[in-house]
Symmetry: C2
Subunit: 446 residues, 2 copies
């Protein structure tokens, strides 16, 4: 018999009972919200063909995809004379499948595959794990959950507003106010950098994207060093120092009124539909170089370096990789793992979340088991959580277990009770006891 | 830009909105049940170290484990002179992780790893996907869900009875009566074959295990051919032709009274606790050669070759692989995928499961969007599912969408309604319409 040290794979986690109760609490809030906004759940497999995934996340992203070995003799198609130094070429031969890296590319694949059965606009939510072969470190895991909503096949600004509404509803529900919704628009950025006659402004975006991590000052320093016209640098820096409302009017003054209009509309509608002033325009918001083409949004915690807890935006080309063109999409992703930490740090979980067992039957011996089973079944018919203690240990030991498991009531049915056809129910919070005739139990249970 | 054909990885599935509603329906029944019996959820990662998984499923099982390639240059530790013909040796070097094959071995790893934090008996449920590199075929997938409950660290017969109770509760809940619970006991088998002085009776078990597939007659033929004493063969065959109650008394007569006692107790308690006579003893029930050591159970559909929908048993050695000895466990697994087919074939899903959108706001133009957002938010505050149609298409087109999406009510708010500060709500089932003053909406919504 082999004897193995029990251990988790690096970067993965178990979740125990209390962890799961907390995670379910947050997930159920999100699910309820998503449904109210008429997003419905779909599910895609953990495994996708590698060809579906690669090429979508940039070279660095592609390296973080977990590849799955082909079954059987996966080496049979590798030529024996091939040098083993060239692992990247061999990978393509020995691995055709991979674990999904996010939920967006599988969504695009799903939409393209089912285009004829889908009624557009297609609004779906998906709460599933994704996997990344990242170096594990504190708070960064190789398996983690994403909670995504997307609208595919609609260009309506209704989606932008609803995404922001959902964000506010969520924070309202978890009773956390100290957050900020920053929005920007790739269309504004494109026309702004077009105005400056900058064809390739990716390096500027990379610098701006780091603002949350390195701070405004360092961003300014790096922009000053860029090899572009001094006048352009001056304009960029001026915008960075303006507050959000000033930036938008400055951009209008620069002649970008039509590009700015949509973002202004979004901000206005947020205010008129009663959202707080916590929505602001942020000219430096980039959200990576990824696939966004219009509206982008990110939510962070005020006065903290917590990182963003929600993010997303509008993209026009996601499904085109799969041959489905001219379909606009918009989506946001709630970072479950960060939200869990946020809730833990701010004590946002309800107090009695770990209340689990309502009734524990003490065990006075095998001759009573039939009775326990029958009585427990009555209590369960009233949706109570009932456990029958498994052994006729000493009562002291059984009560210690009851305390450990934080049960509401202990049920006592032994020799005396059987004779008198009553059960004794002990309230573990108050310590009070009550005799209940067997045939009155269902009246007692509310 | 690459253009890829959108396709699923072989043996995997997407689930659309209606699929998910149905799956959630079944899962929520199981979850509610498991909780009532004081099983609580834990979650383990999809990825485990390969060393944790292999060696537990037999040689054939091990071959069905999906291996994950190490990140980076996974070949760096493979000697360039190594023959590529020997893929099994190379696998150990280039792949250290794998996808879980079931939920039992991860549970054993979890219990061994967390032994000091767990209060025993430990009752957990787990509803998660597992992966097997099996040849995909009709109804057999490479990614599928298992729904497991286990009790670890208790030898009490309470667990056996409760497992059977849960099975009955489940079928009761889905309103399906045509099932049969077969039980057997590895202890009975061990002492019976011991009595016949058969040291290795694995080949008999293999034959018996095929009974559901090949039928009793072929089993009898194969047993006749076995190279064991004629008298032993006669006894085995006699048992196979007896009905379940006769078998047990025959086994008692053979001197196995003490081994049989527990199974008799279980059957008696099932009857006294009000379960139907659908629980029967089946001498030929084997459930593979796996790790079971005592009670085994399987549920199948009467008069069909549907295969088993639930199965499990008691095992004493599962955690010992991880150095945790003398811990008894018992568990059953509900096969979600089979249950889904069973429910579909027997029309067991509630009729209105696909009722999803309560209110659809028709869209009369961008100038009304703020109003729609505000009104929708009021309806959502009453937990209604509300969609705002995304474009100001023709009303006809919007009504077609409303019909496709099977909405309950259509909400009309255009020029006239804005003037009169009323909304028009059309009941899509009855066709009747009602004018509601804007400030009375919340009274109207129940």
């Amino acid at each position: 018999m082999k004897a193995i040290k029990p251990q988790l794979a690096s970067g993965t986690r178990d979740f125990n009972q209390l962890d799961m109760i907390k995670r379910r609490y947050v997930i159920s809030i999100l699910e309820r919200l998503f449904k109210k906004y008429s997003f419905f759940e779909i599910s895609t497999p953990a495994i996708e063909n590698t060809s579906t995934l690669t090429g979508n996340y940039g070279g660095d992203g592609d390296k973080l995809i977990f590849n799955i070995l082909n079954s059987g003799n996966y080496l049979s198609k590798v030529n024996d004379s091939v040098s083993l130094k060239n692992y990247e070429n061999i990978t393509k031969v020995i691995s055709k499948k991979a674990l999904r890296y996010d939920l967006s590319v599988p969504l695009a694949r799903y939409v393209a595959l089912n285009r004829n059965d889908i009624t557009f606009p297609f609004k779906r939510y998906q709460i599933q794990p994704v996997w990344r072969a990242d170096r594990p470190q504190k708070g960064r895991f190789r398996e983690f959950y994403q909670c995504d909503i997307d609208v595919i096949g609609s260009e309506s600004i209704v989606s932008e507003i609803e995404m922001i509404n959902i964000i506010f509803d969520f924070f309202n529900e978890i009773k956390f106010k100290n957050f900020r919704v920053r929005i920007n628009s790739r269309s504004i950025m494109n026309s702004f950098f077009g105005l400056l006659k900058l064809k390739n402004y990716d390096d500027i975006l990379v610098i701006l994207d780091k603002k949350d991590k390195v701070g405004l000052e360092q961003v300014v320093e790096e922009i000053k060093k860029l090899n572009i016209e001094k006048s352009s640098i001056d304009i960029i820096l001026r915008l960075l120092y303006l507050d959000d409302k000033e930036v938008l009017s400055e951009l209008c003054d620069l002649g970008l009124k039509s590009s700015v209009q949509e973002t202004k509309n979004i901000l206005d509608m947020c205010l008129t539909s009663g959202l707080s002033e916590n929505v602001c325009y942020d000219f430096s918001l980039v959200r990576g170089l990824g696939y966004y083409t219009g509206f982008i949004v990110e939510v962070d915690i005020i006065d903290s370096d917590f990182g963003s807890v929600v993010g997303g935006g509008r993209y026009d080309n996601l499904t085109s990789v799969f041959g489905l063109k001219d379909v606009s999409g918009i989506g946001i992703s709630f970072g479950l793992e960060r939200i869990m930490i946020l809730m833990e740090e701010n004590n946002l979980f309800p107090k009695d979340l770990d209340k689990s067992i309502n009734y524990l039957f003490l065990n006075f011996g095998d001759e009573y088991i039939s009775d326990y089973i029958g009585l427990a079944s009555k209590l369960r018919s009233k949706n109570k959580v009932v456990e029958i203690y498994s052994k006729s240990n000493s009562i002291k030991k059984q009560m210690i277990y009851a305390n450990k498991k934080n049960v509401d009531f202990v049920v006592i049915f032994g020799e005396n009770e059987k004779k008198s056809q009553k059960i004794l129910i002990k309230n573990m919070k108050t310590g009070s006891q009550e005799d209940i005739p067997l045939d009155k139990i269902l009246n007692f249970i509310q």
